[in-house]
C-alpha cells in the first residue's frame, strides 16, 4: 500500500516569497491533516480536512497560510508571504477516521522549509 506522498522534500526561499506544498494521502482516507513541526518540537496541527471540507483551521495563520483540498483527495498548503519563523517541516497525514480523531494517523515524510 502506498503511503502519504509529499513534495517537495526540501525548499529554501527568502522571506516574503511564497511557497506551496503538495500532499497525496493514502487512497480512501477521508481525513487529511497538515502539521507544522518546528525543530525540537512536536507537530502542531494547522488544518484538518474531512473529504473536501475544513474540520478545524483554528491554528492556521490565515493572513499568510492557506490550504485546499478541492476534490477531497490531494491537498495543497501555501504560504504567502513567508516569514523567518515559518522555517519548519510541514507534515501531511491522513486517516480513515471520519471525524472522531480516534484512528491512526499515517504521516508523510514531510517538506522541510527554510526561510532566509
Amino acid at each position: 500500500e502506498a503511503g502519504v506522498a509529499q513534495s517537495p522534500r526540501y525548499k529554501i526561499i527568502e522571506k516574503r516569497q511564497s511557497v506551496a506544498f503538495w500532499c497525496n494521502p493514502i487512497s480512501g482516507h477521508a481525513t487529511l491533516y497538515w502539521y507544522q513541526q518546528i525543530l525540537g518540537q512536536g507537530p502542531k496541527l494547522l488544518i484538518q480536512f474531512q473529504n473536501n471540507g475544513v474540520v478545524d483551521d483554528s491554528q492556521l495563520p490565515k493572513d499568510r497560510f492557506s490550504a485546499e483540498r478541492l476534490k477531497g483527495v490531494d491537498s495543497t498548503l501555501k504560504i504567502q508571504p513567508a516569514k523567518l519563523e515559518d522555517s519548519a517541516v510541514y507534515l501531511c497525514a491522513s486517516s480513515e477516521d471520519t471525524g472522531a480523531n480516534t484512528g491512526e494517523l499515517f504521516f508523510g515524510e514531510g517538506s522541510r522549509l527554510t526561510v532566509l
Binding site: V4, Y33, Y35, G40, Q41, G42, P43, K44, L45, Q48, V55, D56, L91, A93, G99, A100, N101, T102, E104, L105, F106, F107, G108, E109, G110
Partner: protein, 111 residues
Amino acid sequence: GENVGLHLPTLSVQEGDNSIINCAYSNSASDYFIWYKQESGKGPQFIIDIRSNMDKRQGQRVTVLLNKTVKHLSLQIAATQPGDSAVYFCAENTPARQLTFGSGTQLTVLP
C-alpha cells in the same frame, strides 16, 4: 491552552535494557492517547494507542500505561534495540477533537 508535556527531553539506555518514556498531560477530558516514533528525516510513525477507559495496553515489545489520577502516560519498550533510537511523542485527543502532540523525548540506545 492545555498542553501535553514530557518529563525528560533525552533518555539513554543500554541495548537490551528496558526503556520507559514518560508523558504528563493536563487535559483531564482527553479520551484517547497515542505514542508516535519519529526517526530523523521521517514523519511520525504510530506505535500504540490507548483509550481513557483503559489503564494498560500491550503491543509487540511495547506497553503503554495510563494513570488518569495523576494524568500520566508512559511508554515501556522491552529489550531496547538500536533501531529504537528516535524521538518519541505522546499525543492526546482533546475534547476539541484536536490531536495535540507533546515536545518529544530523544531515546538513544547505547551499544
